[in-house]
Amino acid sequence: MTENTFKDKLISLFDDNFRANFKHDTPHVHQLRRQAMEAFAKTGFPHTRLEEWRSTNLAKPLALEYVQHFQPLDEKIDIEKVFQCEVYDLDTYVFSQLNGWYIYKTLPITTLPNGTIVGSLDKAMETYPEIFEKHYAQYADFRNNGLNALNTAFAQDGMFIYVPDGVEVSKPIQIINIINLKENIFIQPRNLIILGKNSKLQLVNCDHSLLHKASLINSVSEVVIGENAELDYYKMQNKDNESTMVASLYFHQEANSRLTSNTITLNGGIVRNNTSVKLNGQGCETNLYGLYLVDKEQHIDNHLAVEHAAPNGTSNQLFKGILDDQAQSVFHGHVLVQRDAQKTNADQNNKNILLTDKANAQSEPHLEIYADDVKCSHGATIGQLDPEAMFYLQQRGISQDSARMLLMNAFAEEVINKISIDPLRERIDELVSKRLKGELTICDQCILDCSGRKPVKFDIDLSKLS
């Protein structure tokens, strides 16, 4: 199958389902679907001739056949039996999605004692149409973005979270996204998260896949952070090598709000994280952190776009990666400072360690500045472990292997230390160490029978370092 036949197939699939499915749509959402599909028909899938997609090629995954479901599979599945979170002593409100559908035991929408609403996007659309009217598809542009258009046309479920004004959610909310199907699957989750004024939320989003069939995920999340609200957003990605994931996140920040996002990619086939932030009100603070550990043929692409649209904003980007084998990474950080965004303070930083000659890291920090009173900086490094530090450690009796492990862990530490939830930070620290030692497999969390599969390991070829 070529991209074009896939595209044609999707167009006819849309027409076939437009009336029969999408039953919970508000008229507004229903109309958006049609517009989005028209947009997708024009733009199609992204390809490497587009500047934004120059370094990430989706042609291979797009050439595969996938199933798509318009209804959740009626499987009575007890998620706790299938999946056990590695971060076990983390006290969170846990919600799960399986193959892109919100799963629940009793109610599709839960209201926490503090008034926070968490549940299925599909059901929330019916229940809270005014919120959808105001926010849905307002931040993730679909007119010039084929994948956003496709998601907007097809998306049926995902997470809906609404934190009322003034509410500080005491425990983190954890969302576990699992792919578990014996066929190749294409899913397009859609999340809408709204934080009211002066509210506070910690969100932990975990992406996992359990079976080793190909999966293609095109997720779109829109997150609104109200005035003086605070969001900590953690994204843990531990996908198998057969998966392709494009995760597009749109943060919209109102005045004096604070966002800290931390994306930890432990494993994944092709991962493309699009993270866009608009500092819409003055005095916003944005911290975007990321860590990626990739090996084999894995490909990780972090595309960041930060728009300072109002004065006195601060944004930081710090992404670090360790690459082994033929793995590839792309960091593309774009900071746009609009004319009115005076006194902006923006920093971008990307650091990579290559463990082999064949690993490849691309780093492209960009600054686009239209205001005259700003402080912006950027930096990128691609290199090996510091030989001076290696010698220092060895001179104290530490073996070459242990010295490398210490330095790699230390390199990752800078990002891990930004995690403000203590048990999560400690656990991620352990997972990263395990990953670097080649001990973490994606089967670690899984009790399904995957016999015959070789675990995915991070084999560091130590001989390639001097």
Binding site: Y392, R396, G397, I398, S399, L406, A410, S466
Partner: protein, 247 residues
């Protein structure tokens, strides 16, 4: 303990050490002095096992073992400690974690079990007092943001933790104020026993007011040109290195 014979070392085809001999016995303190660029640090680096040097002839025997057969970490486990002239900053690795790894890897080399955490912490507390370092320093990353004095005290602290047979202190006194110098020297003196030895590499006689050497060697243009007792250092201070050149 340490026996160096006819050591010739080059870097980038430039000969730095041109046939150096040195004998160090247990319980001795040797000072190696000499002007800049005569090969003092090269000697320290070659004993410790830095790779960027070419050893073109000679041998270094330590406790009966040829050091050229051993990796830097094996030499360290055999008891060779290098106090760095410029200690490396290692962000993200705490001193505690670093030293626990080092102590336990050295124990493993000797066939010993890892030190229990409580014993390790007690050992650290004891040794911290020896070099008068602040207790919170060990939580910080190795040498990161340390002052010159803190870095050098940290070297002596590591030496105290690892209890080496032969300590080579490469210009440990440079960049120290008089208080730090006194603390560093006190540490070295307290750690000195009849079974271990130290080689002090220094420019100045100042350090030798605090640590009294048994032998003073003058390294000049890649060779030891004069050896004497502690009084040689004073003579050098007075007359300068030019005196040797002319003599």
């Amino acid at each position: 303990m340490l026996s160096i014979k006819n050591l010739k070392v080059s870097i980038n085809n430039k000969e730095i050490l041109k046939g150096l001999d040195l004998e160090v016995k247990p319980g001795e303190v040797h000072a190696i002095m000499g002007p800049n660029g005569t090969g003092k640090s090269t000697l320290a680096s070659v004993i410790a096992g830095r790779r960027e040097f070419d050893v073109t002839s000679g041998e270094i025997i330590y406790k009966g073992k040829n050091l050229f057969d051993l990796s830097p970490e094996e030499r360290a486990c055999e008891g060779i400690f290098l106090g760095f002239q410029y200690p490396v900053e290692i962000p993200g690795v705490s001193i505690t974690n670093f030293l626990r790894t080092a102590v336990n890897e050295q124990r493993k080399y000797k066939g010993l079990d890892p030190l229990p955490a409580s014993d390790f912490l007690a050992l650290m507390e004891e040794k911290k007092k020896l070099v008068e370092i602040q207790s919170n320093l060990t939580k910080r990353s190795v040498n990161e943001g340390f002052s010159g004095g803190e870095k050098k005290k940290n070297e002596i602290f590591q030496m105290a933790m690892l209890d080496p047979g032969l300590a080579i202190l490469d210009e440990t006194d440079s960049g120290l104020d008089i208080d730090a110098l006194r603390i560093v020297a006190n540490g070295v003196n307290k750690l000195h026993t009849k079974d271990n030895a130290a080689i002090l590499i220094t420019h100045y006689q100042r350090l030798l007011d605090y640590i009294v050497p048994d032998f003073v060697h003058v390294l000049f243009e890649g060779r030891i040109v004069k050896t004497g007792g502690k009084e040689l250092a004073l003579e050098l201070e007075e007359k300068g290195y030019e005196w040797l050149k002319n003599g």
